[in-house]
């Protein structure tokens, strides 16, 4: 990265976790700030410029969703939550409050860094107003409302396009069922998950090389969907040789 080193704020009450996160981030060229409590985190986030927040749930002084809400009240900084498995409802709640993504504990540094890069890229794209999202062979031009697969323009129904559009705006990050249902079908349909399932199937038929093993539009069970945005341009170009992104690897 040629830009100045991104600054990450790590909010975690466990010193051992803060320590490995600090080492891992510093090895990858980040500047690290730490906070052990919610109050300290909010103080740091208001006083210093922050490019990214990593928030572990279960802080001693504050509910995780409260921290998310407080930070979101003045900042759109990318925010990634560390959570435990089998708490899908909690993840959904935090995503709805404004968290960008989550990583399930225990996790490896590579997994977290992949999520972090995606979130930073999304933030950069949002600030520059870049209208084009590329995922492997798929190109979504948000300003021209065009979707191309291997340079060939696809015909999508208005609802299919709307679904893909919302996912592309959050490319790489998970988008909850509720959010998608509300944006595409309206708020009275937020419980009608089957609409989504049927439309995602139709969309996969059009954009995936193998709709039964999707690699672009992937499911996050019990939470939502994400467009599998590769973490970097180089990775994107290597799409066809690489393993599926998001796989647990080194």
């Amino acid at each position: 990265m040629s830009e100045p080193a991104p600054i990450v704020l790590i909010i975690d009450d466990e010193i051992q976790i803060r320590r490995f996160l600090r080492t891992g981030f510093e090895l990858n060229g980040f500047v690290v700030h730490e906070a052990g409590t919610g109050a300290e985190a909010i103080r740091t986030a208001t006083l210093r410029p922050i490019d990214l927040v990593i928030l572990d749930l279960g802080l001693p002084d504050m509910d995780g969703s409260e921290v998310v809400e407080k930070i979101r009240s003045w900042s759109s900084v990318p925010l990634i939550v560390l959570s435990v498995r089998s708490s899908e409802a909690e993840k959904v709640k935090l995503l709805e409050r404004g968290a960008d993504d989550y990583v399930v504990k225990p996790f490896g540094m590579a997994e977290l860094l992949a999520r972090v890069r995606v979130a930073l890229r999304r933030q950069m794209r949002a600030m520059s107003g870049e209208p084009i999202v590329k995922i492997g062979p798929l190109t979504i031009d948000l300003s021209a409302r065009a979707v191309l697969l291997n340079e060939v323009r696809l015909t999508l129904t208005p609802k299919e396009y709307r679904l893909l559009q919302i996912l592309a705006q959050h490319a790489g990050n998970v988008v909850t069922h509720q959010h998608l249902l509300k944006e595409v079908w309206g708020s009275i349909h937020v419980q009608d998950t089957h609409y989504l399932r049927i439309f995602v199937r139709k969309l996969r038929q059009k954009i995936e090389a193998n709709p039964n093993s999707p690699r672009i539009l992937v499911t996050e069970l019990g939470v939502g969907y994400r467009l599998a945005q590769p973490a970097s341009e180089a990775e994107n170009n290597a799409w066809n040789v690489a393993e599926a992104p998001g796989a647990k690897g080194e």
């Binding site: 976790i17 996160l21 090895l27 039964n212 069970l221 998001g246």
Partner: protein
């Protein structure tokens, strides 16, 4: 109060009986004119019998006397005088009165027995309903609600039960939502604290002028709680009478409660909830205490793995890799223990939603990729599978357990087949391996907790929890798991069958397009 009420009722009955006799007289006068009927006195047996059956002995006797008198007056010569001349007719009338008295006595006795039988039946029904409700009551509050309803139905008055708490003597917890005036509450607290004579209820008048009677349900067993009965705005005079009735009902109720061993049930329910709380706390702390260090270990290992300082150190990297793999295994074991505790402590509450079976399969494969190693996956999942209404995360975890088994008990480089098939009213996800296989005895026992097949225990370590957890998770979603194997050495196929509601699906296809 009660006696007065009874006298009033008796008078009403007598009046009704006399009315009946009067009506009969009018009818008979008509009959005598039309059909020249003589000696109508026998017909008066009719109102006597009716009065005896409907209104009891006193009314029947009144009807008999009235009937006799009316006969003498209207039908025996000289007419319209109470004097009877013919000795034969005097005998007739005497006989009538005798028969009337005897039959009314018999009929009244019959009525009494009938009433008693009916009341007994109603009591039995109440009691049966009560005991049945107790049998399905799990918590202390359920039992108290049952006692409260039972007393309300027996006393025909609003009854509020306060469960006495054992530890703090001055607070009594309220078992229902009904509003109870503050003055009554403080009296309840006094009674619960044992500062009142337990055998003698204190009347309390609330702000609206209603009288409440506050009493311990049982003078001996405080765990049955304290009741407050709303007597309504009755006069003080009726209070003693009602207090007696409450005493009787409470004595009965206490006997019932003791017979049904409610005290035991209450203490057991209390203990159960304490054990549950303890277990919850234990799971919570184990989960946190064991997994937080693991998250640190795994995270630190992953950082070391990518550290430039270790880039050329093949041996050191192998060590770090071991740390990570073993920590991951430990994490899986802890997760299994937590899942198992969750299943056996409070059952599983699935969060159901419409899900695509293919998504569940893909997600499970993704999670097991490292575990599969170099085993060849062959995936056969058709694109147009019906949706299923399940907790997709639970089904995925069940599938992960099955994948884990397949990977554990099959040789490196062998094939693992994953198929999904739609049947008439279900979909079947099947996982087959080329591994150890199952003996006939194993097939039925693999679903047991902690069971491990002889061959399996010999080759690989494991807790024997995996398939038990998978079965519970699938069952929580209305599905079932089955196993097939051609014997030891011939591989195993494990299948998950999930129900599908076809009608709902056909309807859904249309809806989403609008």
């Amino acid at each position: 109060m009660r006696i007065l009420h009874q006298i009033l009722r008796e008078w009403r009955n007598v009046g009704l009986a006399l009315l009946l006799v009067g009506a009969m007289t009018v009818g008979m006068i008509g009959l005598v004119r039309e059909a020249a009927l003589a000696h109508g006195s026998v017909l008066y047996l009719l109102p006597v019998l009716i009065a005896a059956i409907r209104w009891g002995l006193v009314a029947a006797l009144a009807a008999a006397i009235a009937g006799g008198t009316a006969s003498a007056f209207f039908f025996y010569p000289p007419l319209y005088s109470f004097v009877i001349k013919d000795p034969q007719e005097i005998l007739d009338l005497t006989l009538f009165i005798f028969v009337a008295v005897v039959t009314s006595k018999l009929a009244a006795k019959l009525k009494l027995q009938f009433d008693i039988a009916q009341k007994r039946e109603a009591d039995m029904r109440d009691l049966y309903a009560f005991s049945r409700r107790l049998a399905v009551s799990f918590g202390v509050s359920d039992i108290h609600a049952a006692i409260e309803d039972h007393l309300t139905s027996v006393m025909q008055r609003k009854v509020v039960l306060f469960a006495s708490t054992q530890d703090s003597s001055d607070t009594a917890t309220h078992s229902s939502d009904t509003a109870v005036p503050e003055r009554v509450r403080s009296e309840v607290a006094q009674v619960a604290a044992g500062r009142r004579d337990p055998a003698n209820g204190m009347p309390v008048i609330d702000g609206d002028g209603d009288i409440w009677l506050v009493r311990a349900v049982s003078p001996k067993k405080s765990e049955f709680g304290v009741i407050a009965v709303n007597l309504g705005p009755d006069s003080q005079a009726g209070l003693d009478d009602f207090r007696l009735r409450v005493d009787t009902v409470l004595a009965d109720a206490t006997a019932t409660l003791e017979r049904l061993d409610v005290a035991h049930a209450i203490s057991e329910a209390r203990m159960r909830s304490e054990t549950d709380q303890l277990r919850e706390a234990l799971i919570g702390s184990v989960s946190h205490e064991l997994r937080t260090p693991l998250a640190s270990i795994l995270g630190a290992a992953s950082v070391l793995m990518s550290a430039p300082a270790l880039a050329g150190e093949k041996n050191l990297r192998a060590l770090v890799n071991d740390v990570r793999n073993e920590a991951e295994r430990l994490n899986d074991d802890i997760q299994n223990l937590l899942d198992a505790t969750r299943i056996s402590s409070d059952g599983i509450k699935p969060h159901t939603e419409w899900a695509d079976p293919a998504d569940i399969v893909n997600s499970a494969i993704e999670r097991c990729r490292r575990r599969f190693g170099d085993r060849r996956l062959s995936l056969d999942v058709p694109g147009e599978l019906p949706l299923v209404y399940v907790d997709s995360v639970l089904v995925e975890q069940a599938l992960v357990q099955i994948f884990d088994n397949a990977a554990k008990y099959s040789p490196a480089g062998s094939r693992i087949g994953i198929t999904a098939r739609a049947r008439e009213s279900s979909i079947v996800l099947a996982v087959s391996d080329e591994g150890t296989g199952l003996s006939n005895g194993d097939k039925t026992r693999i679903w047991e907790r902690f069971f491990r097949g002889g061959q399996h225990a010999a080759t690989t370590s494991g807790s024997g929890l995996g398939l038990w957890i998978a079965t519970a998770f699938v069952a929580a979603n209305g599905g079932k798991i089955s196993a097939k194997s051609d014997g030891i050495g011939y591989g195993t196929t494990l299948s998950i069958e999930l129900p599908v509601a076809q009608a709902a699906l056909a309807q859904m296809e249309g809806e989403a397009d609008e």
